[in-house]
């Protein structure tokens, strides 16, 4: 797994090329700007050349991007798979061409990646569940009816999130699940689904929504029923809209996963690999399909509530301008400690 010599004539003797394969633009906005920006920054800091591609949710596209990157002569490939199958195909392709792979954010089960750098997605789900149970709208209630709106079933991470929050919520005393539907990471679907759910269960107290964009849809429906703020709504990704809703009190919390937690680690790791080292990871994760112990770097997520809502902005994860675009929101922002220039 070392690339001390490279046969590629176009590459300099010491390979500094790192390829990054990102999955899509819909499952989370992070893949569009947060990750590319942070990765690029880290690459520059580590004097590496990074090639960052986004597969637009198509496994075939990712496959062809992988081939193109290998053709470029990258020595390390960061893969955020769309699914484990295509991820594995890419990793074996890379292996065939003697390129080291790192699973970035998503574990390729059954794959051959040398390292796994991520947030712990089951943990994310568990945090969501715990935070929802602590929301003021439901805290201390003896009987709580809630519904789930999951991410796309085609996305393994969505399955992991659901596994996390369901394991927590099912153990909450007095909580009953009134319904579970998938929102497909799509706000329109989420809105349709939740409209019907609310029609059926007008007395529900909490909505376990997998991310912020879908939470927005849920809040839309609640608003039309004057219920916004009276029902606990969860979220994830700390998007600008999500933070707005948290400040407004219509959303109870969101999950903040600073990209730096993954990008910094992954790029540093890549630099070490390219310079010929074989770093030892602090932990391992067991691949559920083949019981392989994958050396892992796992970061912890942060739950964002009204109390610490300014954190993503002060970190630079979101800009104040995008969180507070209108005068009304500027006021709300300053009340919550976000300074707009």
């Amino acid at each position: 797994n070392n690339n001390k010599s490279s046969a590629s004539s176009s590459a300099p003797p010491a390979n500094t090329k790192v390829g990054v394969l990102l999955p899509d633009t819909a499952s989370s906005p992070r893949w569009v700007s947060a990750d590319p920006n942070e990765l690029r920054k880290q690459c520059a800091a580590n004097k590496l050349t990074c090639y960052i591609d986004n597969a637009n949710a198509s496994a075939t596209t990712m496959e062809s991007q992988a081939q193109a990157l290998i053709n470029q002569g990258v020595g390390v490939l960061l893969v955020t798979n769309l699914d484990s199958g295509s991820g594995k195909a890419i990793e074996s392709l890379a292996k065939q061409h003697n390129v080291v792979t790192i699973d970035y954010d998503r574990l390729t089960t059954g794959g051959t990646a040398e390292y796994y750098v991520s947030y712990d997605n089951v943990k994310v789900g568990e945090d969501q569940g715990t935070a929802l149970a602590a929301c003021p709208q439901v805290a201390g209630k003896s009987a709580v009816g809630y519904v789930d709106i999951d991410g796309a079933p085609t996305d393994n991470n969505a399955t992991l999130f659901a596994q996390g929050y369901n394991s927590v919520l099912s153990k909450q005393a007095g909580w009953t699940k009134l319904g579970e539907q998938t929102g497909n990471w799509d706000p329109a679907t989420a809105q349709t689904v939740f409209t019907t759910m609310l029609g059926r269960h007008p007395n529900l107290n909490a909505v376990m929504v997998a991310n912020d964009t879908m939470a927005q849809s849920v809040i839309n429906v609640l608003k039309s029923q004057s219920l916004a703020g009276k029902v606990a709504v969860s979220g994830q990704d700390a998007t600008a809209g999500g933070l707005d809703n948290v400040m407004a009190g219509t959303q109870c919390f969101t999950i903040y996963k600073p990209v730096a937690g993954e990008a910094d680690v992954a790029i540093k790791l890549a630099g070490q690999i390219l310079s010929g080292q074989k770093p030892t990871a602090p932990a391992t994760i067991k691949d559920p399909t083949n019981a392989r112990e994958v050396p892992s770097y796992l970061a912890d997520p942060t739950v964002i509530t009204k109390k610490n809502v300014a954190l993503p902005v002060t970190d630079g994860y979101e800009t104040a301008a995008s969180v507070c675009p209108t005068p009304a929101l500027v006021k709300l922002c300053s009340e919550n400690g976000i300074k707009t220039p």
Binding site: P29, T192, K223, Q225
Partner: protein, 423 residues
């Protein structure tokens, strides 16, 4: 064998009085049996699936759900209305969905990043739609590129542009309280709703009566007054039923503390009716509409008759993209935000499917505005009805399967009624 007594000659002398009604009904039945079914199959299909969901899904016909259904159907219907024009020419616009997405993104950016007022944003989005339509129409009509390829290219490109515009935020949330949001989320005051209904019914009756008098004065066979009265009463009853049900308070929870009410029809209904009237009128009563049908039916005949075919062709793309822009705005209003993948996915297929289920042909020359409305309602009923039918985190698999099956059933029903109409 009684038919023997009726020779196949022209029956030009109009009959009046009660005889006219009998003639009218006889002709109508003969036309029905001859296969000229108009909107009947789509209506029957709509009633059947509505009944189906009303049975399996209690509360499906509640005022609450009816409103949800209407506001969910609005963007589909608006887009389908525009698509009818393109389909009438035997063309396709694969990019209508993403055009809508792009235009709503432009609107959102104007609103939020440039601080413009809502109508500047809407105007910007609409103008963008018109320009897009013009360029695509020009490429089709003048450069001669097949519309499937042009709009496949723009389908991809606009998805990219929307993503670039909305960027890494994933979605842009429209300012709370903006009139834009009201379109799908606020309601027409009750008195205004009833007034508008009155105006609509009166207008309908007036047009029908003026038509009939004109024909009578020209010595042509006119629709009997009895039929007109029946039709007007029918429209008035349907409208009243809808307005009445929409007038009920739909708030699910009311108690001593909360007394806000949700009642009245959504403004989107007014928009839909307005757009329908405009385009229906354009298609059925203007030279332009006649020319659209002619070009769709036989382009060469239209060209020889002096119709400027390329201008018609460009115009339908302009209308389609303009309506797509409006549809995008309505969708944004529904979601109170614009996503970076707005208009992608199945948006377009469902809208085209709506037009086709309504009775519009993909080969050009056959289609009406009402097709878009009825087909759009069918699609919306299916989606709304399905959204809660199957539970579980992997429910979407089953839901897709059942959605497909129901769609097929609705269309199959339609086909059986039409008895082997070929599209």
């Amino acid at each position: 064998m009684t038919a023997k007594t009726e020779p196949a000659v022209a029956e030009e002398t109009p009959v009046r009085g009660p005889g006219a009604l009998r003639v009218y009904i006889r002709e109508y039945v003969a036309r029905l049996r001859g296969g000229e079914l108009g909107s009947a199959p789509a209506i029957v299909g709509l009633v059947v699936i509505t009944a189906f969901f009303a049975i399996v899904h209690q509360g499906f016909l509640s005022a609450y759900n009816l409103e949800a259904l209407v506001i969910q159907a609005a963007p589909i219907i608006v887009m389908a209305m525009g698509l009818v024009f393109v389909l009438l020419l035997g063309e396709i616009d694969l990019s209508a969905g993403t055009t809508g997405g792009l235009c709503s993104a432009i609107m959102a950016v104007l609103l939020l990043r440039h601080g413009q007022s809502w109508w500047v944003g809407v105007l910007g989005g609409l103008v963008a739609g018109l320009v897009i339509g013009f360029v695509m129409g020009w490429l089709r009509a003048r450069a001669g590129i097949p519309s499937f390829v042009i709009t496949l290219a723009t389908f991809l490109a606009f998805q990219g542009l929307t993503l670039i515009l909305i960027g890494g935020q994933g979605s842009v949330i429209l300012p709370t309280g903006s009139p834009l949001i009201s379109l799908e989320n606020s309601f027409v005051p009750l008195w205004l709703g009833w007034t508008l209904l009155g105006i609509f019914v009166a207008g309908y009756a007036a047009i029908k009566l003026i038509d009939a008098r004109g024909r009578q004065q020209s010595g042509l066979a006119a629709t009997p007054i009895a039929v007109i009265v029946a039709k007007v009463i029918g429209v008035a009853l349907l409208g009243s039923a809808f307005t009445y049900e929409m007038g009920l308070n739909r708030n699910l929870i009311t108690n001593a503390f909360f007394s806000s009410k949700a009642q009245g029809e959504p403004w989107a209904v007014v928009l839909l009716v307005l757009l329908f009237v405009i385009w229906h009128f354009t298609l059925s009563r203007t030279r332009y509409g006649r020319h659209v049908y002619a070009v769709g039916g036989n382009e060469e005949a239209a060209r020889r008759a002096g119709v400027v075919v390329s201008r018609i062709r460009i115009s339908v793309f302009v209308i389609c993209s303009g309506m797509a822009a409006i549809s995008g705005v309505v969708a944004a209003s529904l979601l109170q935000s614009v996503q970076s993948n707005a208009g992608a996915g199945n948006t377009l297929l469902l809208a085209v499917g709506a037009a086709v289920i309504g009775g519009t042909s993909l080969f050009g020359g056959r289609g009406r505005m009402i097709d878009a409305v009825l087909g759009g309602l069918v699609v919306a009923v299916i989606i709304n009805g399905m959204s809660d039918l199957i539970q579980g985190s992997n429910s979407s698999g089953y839901e897709w399967v059942v959605t497909g099956a129901v769609l097929l059933l609705a269309a199959g029903f339609d086909a059986v009624v039409r008895h082997g109409r070929s599209t």
